[in-house]
Symmetry: C2
Subunit: 386 residues, 2 copies
């Protein structure tokens, strides 16, 4: 039982498995801070085979977590990739051992700003060290060491999860056979840096944020976090989908009320998204994780050519983008594929025609399922997974 | 001298000309409220000719105002359309009498929530009646009556200004010869309704908003309004322009600071946009005007067909969109043009290739200048302007 803080109230939430990592040797974060004995929360699905060659690491997006399928302990709903991961599903737990860990910086049991700092006995808050996508991946590598898995069959993830996939494939190319970066980019764009800055400013503008010390002060920046989520949520959907799903439909009324209530269905929907998010996510984690995503750049600010990043890679790549995704558009995926092609990497690229926007990778898109199924089946027979 | 409230301080700001309208007969707003003796602030440029047929009404966008050119009394900068309006410019003040008024609901001298309610001696705040684009245009029509102008040569405007143009052309078709709706739509889309809702929620989340009574309480929701502006500002620019102008460039530093400062230039730029806006715009006006834009729909919620709205029109239309504008995309303009074509209206349509996003109509885009120049010259010779 892990006591966790979600939303405006403390709630006792049972987080699944948690392992303490960096017990012998500290992990040096990119910001220079060394951390030891930090917790990493994870879930596994399926069984590791005798050859230890059937492990798939799934990397979650910004506000995702380790609960791929089954019931989520905080929301009571299904895990975020329930339709992709499970027995007989594209990532088939009858055949593969699937691991997903909560990234460091997040708030579902892993080392993050809402965890208690052993040095003070209080939550870290803003004394939490800054983490990057590289640091997230280094922590995941320690988790694999814990499992005794030398090499993953595949690493798969969308959005910020896709950044982790790219980081895995370029930092530990010998530790994975195949990589599926989905709806992602080799670096955060200016527009996406801007969107994240807006979210952070919305949180920090809330006086109940208390300069990050809201837990100690028994407050919670619910309004600011809700605005941040609303602003982000619009970017996850396409203009077409919003128009088709909501249009100008009114919410339980016949006419405008000439007021600031949620007259339109889309306004009501957004408010609902904001309110739900506040109940399941930590505001400081949102600050740290958006920062980590903004810092992501495989070329390290242009110091390294993108082709040099991938030079000589033996990893099999399956790059996927969605036509209506304007947050991590197909242009970004094409840039990635161009660099991979330039170094003669083994890469397939599919742009899926779909009007559901960035969130397509989380939604019911049969063509996406079949791309992932095909990629896994083909790569697995090549790799010799039983 | 009009005492006006801008930002966190009262400042004495000289607003140009202000006329009191609806002196004999009240104006009935769409929300049902009747208003009398309300102020409308305006500027004029050039001279009305003897035939009274050279008047051009320019309609401003959401946070624009009556200052087209010359020095703006609040910001000290040039007016918002200085490059389009003036002697020898596309909207040539040597030939035309150009009028621009501050829309009702706004905050630069016209009837708006920060003005004093004569009944209470206090600012209206949220007791201000809800206004619509129709109401804005009805107020402008009263201004024309005041000038004794029966028929305008042209009405021109972009974004929410373009909505006013469409409202003019369909509500008072006999009162204008030509109409140029630019970077606009016949109704606010679901996505744009959503963006505006985010802005309002950001303002209303700020405790210094004081349920709209911030003036009386000597407060100002500066943080919330800044977040609202930042969120809106990103939508005014294109992804390409942001990438080209800012990319991942750092702000006066060599490397990441691993902190929440504005490490990236684009973050610094956005914060600057937010801070500047707070000094020149009233938070409650922002609420009311975004509401008005969201309510805009020429089809009245589908009660009227778009083609019926335009049926029999004699107005000459010049529709302009910009290829990288994703807020009011070319798709919206094409829908408008399709309806106009279906009723055999006189319409030209230009989609200008330009990477500057929605704000293109405010920026240096020579092709746009030449489209407006051509439209005005051609229409004026047809209309018989000397």
């Amino acid at each position: 039982m892990v006591k966790s803080f979600f939303g405006a109230n403390y709630r006792e939430v049972e987080i699944g498995e948690i392992v303490t990592l960096a017990r012998n040797e500290p992990l040096t974060l990119e910001c220079g801070v060394k951390v030891s004995n930090f917790p990493l929360a994870f879930q596994t699905y399926g069984t590791l085979n005798a050859k230890r060659n059937n492990a798939i690491l799934v990397c979650h997006a910004l506000t995702g977590d380790q609960y791929l399928c089954g019931t989520h302990p905080v929301t009571g709903k299904s895990g975020w990739w329930d339709r992709m991961v499970g027995a007989g599903k594209p990532i088939d737990t009858n055949r593969f051992f699937v691991i997903c860990s909560n990234v460091i910086g997040s708030c579902l049991g892993s080392f993050g700003p809402k965890e208690t700092d052993p040095a003070t006995g209080k939550p870290y808050g803003l004394s939490f060290p800054f983490i990057t996508v590289t640091d997230m991946v280094k922590a995941q590598a320690l988790l694999l060491d814990h499992f005794g898995i030398e090499k993953l069959f595949a690493v798969i993830g969308g959005s910020m999860g896709g950044m982790q996939v790219l980081e895995w494939a370029t930092r530990y190319p010998e530790r994975l056979h195949a990589a599926a970066p989905i709806a992602t980019a080799t670096r955060q764009s200016a527009q996406n840096i801007a969107f994240h800055e807006i979210g952070r400013q919305a949180i920090m503008a809330d006086p109940d944020w208390c300069d990050g010390e809201y837990v100690a002060q028994h407050k919670y920046p619910a309004k600011g976090l809700a605005v941040a989520r609303m602003a982000a949520h619009v970017t996850y959907l396409s203009q077409e989908m919003l128009q088709e799903k909501f249009g100008r439909n009114l919410q339980d009324r016949e006419d405008y009320t000439y007021g600031f209530d949620a007259d339109f269905k889309v306004e009501s929907y957004l408010r609902h998204q904001g309110a739900n998010f506040v109940d399941r996510f930590d505001a400081n984690s949102y600050l740290y994780l958006t920062r980590a995503a903004s810092y992501f750049d495989l070329t390290q600010g242009g110091k390294i050519k993108l082709t040099d990043v991938f030079a000589g890679t033996k990893v099999r790549y399956c790059v996927v983008s969605f036509s209506s995704d304007w947050l991590y558009s197909s242009v970004e995926s094409r840039n990635l594929v161009r660099a991979l092609n330039a170094v003669a990497a083994n890469v397939s690229f599919t742009e899926i025609n779909c009007d559901k926007g960035h969130d397509s990778f989380l939604l019911d898109v049969p063509e996406f399922d079949s791309v992932i199924t095909g990629f896994i089946q083909g790569s697995a027979s090549l790799y010799g997974v039983d």
